[in-house]
């Protein structure tokens, strides 16, 4: 868990400091510096028409864009998408879960819809939604979050059903505490630990799915520097220039691995019962 946390912290710092990490302006590229190998010297044209000497640490792509710069900036996109996906899925899932757990008449229909949603493979929902909506980061986040909602809903619902039988909730009910207050004050705080764990795994899934969408060409627009887009761009030339795919691929794998390790660790610390089961 410490390793996961440390790696993630480093990635967050990288994302925040992206403009100062020896990267050139994202809009700059030079056709003369196409397909450079990692570490090669090349030049970039500034907006004023000046030529700058620049070392392409991870080489350049077929447009002459610096892969190092795109990968570093891609960290921002990936982390934002991952965290936002987790937050959106958790927020909606918590509301649905509380409703299903508390309102008996809603429980059946809502959970049947969730069952149906779970039967459709997550990535297909995301692909179809993004294809329809097009658009930017927000669309992608929502499209990735939707298939994750049923799992959160189920988790919250099962927690609610257990917790509402606890003596302190019964006491609150018998004192005439309004339902929304019981949900907010007594039930929600007890769901926090498992939800944090779940949120971590959704975050990992979100980062991965965004990369897959971009890689398949259905995610964020190709000019947005994301790891998936860099890899998609590198596909055609993979045989000669494998580094176009390897560098963003390594970043992606390490990030997802770090988040997953963090999630496993959090689960073991926050939720010992669950740790034993898995």
């Amino acid at each position: 868990m410490r390793i996961g946390g440390t790696v993630l912290a480093v990635l967050v710092v990288v994302a925040l400091l992206a403009p100062w990490l020896g990267t050139v302006d994202p809009s700059l590229f030079d056709p003369a510096s196409r397909d450079l190998l990692p570490g090669a010297m090349g030049e970039v044209t500034t907006l004023d028409g000046e030529y700058l000497k620049h070392r392409f640490l991870m080489g350049s792509d077929s447009f002459g864009r610096d892969i190092y710069r795109r990968v570093i900036y891609g960290t921002q996109v990936s982390l934002i998408v991952g965290i936002a996906t987790a937050l959106v899925a958790l927020a909606i899932g918590i509301v649905f879960g509380l409703l299903a757990g508390f309102l008996r008449w809603l429980d059946g229909p809502l959970m049947r819809v969730m069952d149906g949603l779970m039967a459709i493979p997550a990535i297909l929902i995301a692909i179809a939604l993004v294809a329809m909506w097009r658009g930017g980061v927000l669309t992608v986040v929502i499209a990735i979050a939707i298939p994750e909602i049923p799992r959160v809903t189920r988790l919250v619902r099962s927690l609610v059903l257990t917790i509402r039988e606890e003596p302190y909730v019964e006491a609150a009910i018998s004192l005439g505490t309004p339902t929304w207050k019981i949900m907010g004050r007594h039930i929600l705080p007890n769901t926090v630990a498992p939800l944090i764990v779940q949120g971590t795994f959704i975050c990992a899934a979100g980062i991965l799915t965004e990369a897959i969408l971009s890689f398949l060409g259905v995610g964020l627009p190709p000019d947005v520097p994301t790891w998936g887009n860099v890899m998609a761009e590198g596909r055609a030339q993979f045989t000669e220039y494998p580094h176009n795919i390897f560098f963003p691929g390594i970043f992606l794998a390490v990030t997802v691995l770090a988040v997953n390790i963090l999630g496993d660790g959090l689960r073991d610390t926050l939720d010992p019962k669950m740790a034993k089961r898995v």
Partner: protein, 313 residues
């Protein structure tokens, strides 16, 4: 048993109906007029209105759903906007590569993961166990397309053992077929191996603590038989369950793997249809994949009787 079978079959119906409604709504509530897409750029407003009428798009959404669902039940998935053929025919053409890929992947995954999981449980806490669990987290985390490119680079480009891309039909001979399919299947099986090995380990670990295992050992049964006949056999239900649940992972992986290895299957069809905004095809493929997922998990439920005779329906 028959009673249970009927009830279990009936219980999948609501799920399938919900799936159908969701898939229908997902694409029918999209901005953009399918009739205009079908008619092409040069069409007049009258022509578009005509097409809208033949497609039934002038009716209300619930009416459209009833018509659409009625067609579904007869196996009519509609016309592809892009390929201008029946979606059902299109899917039929793309079925073989995907089924081959999935079958080989599951075979590899089960053959590798189950023995590894049993060994890890047997030597619980050893370096082998810890290494395997480490690799399993890694297997979950490494994106399937990154793994695909690493393997292509290593096995196909550097070593030259297997072809980089493409697909050969089974009808053209089993040799070329498996030759082309091996690398994609290995790529796709990694995440599956991680999943199954983990569950096998946990499940076998639990049975190894049972009294009958001690009895089996006490009566001098060879350790191999203890592990396979007693521990694994009793641990089978969770393993089969996770294989069923993993079908969802597999379907997601198929879309990506087929794209990387240029395999003309259903996954590739999905991506092409999305890029062309060919909604009837997207609908058809998503429906098919979801039905497969539901049916496989139904079969998994039914297989419990076979794996655990104590379970009676």
């Amino acid at each position: 048993m028959l009673n249970f079978l009927l009830r279990r079959l009936l219980s999948t119906l609501p799920v399938l109906v919900v799936v159908a409604v969701l898939v229908f709504l997902m694409l029918r509530l999209t901005p953009g007029d399918p009739a205009a897409v079908l008619a092409g750029d040069a069409a007049t407003t009258d022509q578009i209105a005509e097409i809208r009428k033949t497609l039934g798009l002038d009716r209300s959404i619930p009416e459209q759903f009833v018509v659409w669902a009625g067609h579904l039940l007869t196996g009519d998935l509609g016309q592809s906007y892009y390929y201008k053929t029946e979606v059902a025919t299109l899917i039929g053409q793309r079925l073989e590569p995907t089924l081959s890929l999935a079958a080989l992947t599951i075979t590899i995954a089960v053959l590798v993961a189950v023995p590894l999981g049993v060994l890890a449980a047997w030597r619980f806490g050893s370096w082998f166990d810890r290494t395997l669990m480490g690799f399993s987290v890694l297997g979950f985390s490494i994106p399937v397309f990154v793994l695909a490119y690493i393997l292509i680079w290593l096995v196909s480009l550097k070593l030259g053992w297997l072809p980089v891309q493409g697909y050969k039909r089974l009808a053209d001979g089993a040799g070329p077929w498996i030759h082309h399919l091996l690398l994609p299947s290995i790529t796709l099986s990694v995440i599956y191996i991680a999943l199954i090995a983990r569950v096998t380990r946990a499940s076998v670990l639990e049975t190894l603590g049972e009294d009958y295992i001690r009895t089996a050992r006490a009566k001098g049964l060879p350790e191999r038989l203890v592990l396979v006949r007693h521990a694994l056999a009793n641990a089978a239900v969770p393993i089969v369950t996770v294989i069923g649940i993993g079908i969802a992972l597999l379907i997601g992986g198929v879309v990506v793997t087929e794209s990387v290895y240029a395999i003309p299957g259903l996954g590739r069809l999905t991506v092409d249809a999305v890029l062309a905004r060919d909604f009837p095809t997207i609908q058809g493929v998503i429906l098919l994949f979801s039905v497969v997922y539901v049916v496989v998990n139904l079969l998994v439920d039914l297989s419990y009787v076979f794996f655990d005779p104590r379970i009676r329906y």
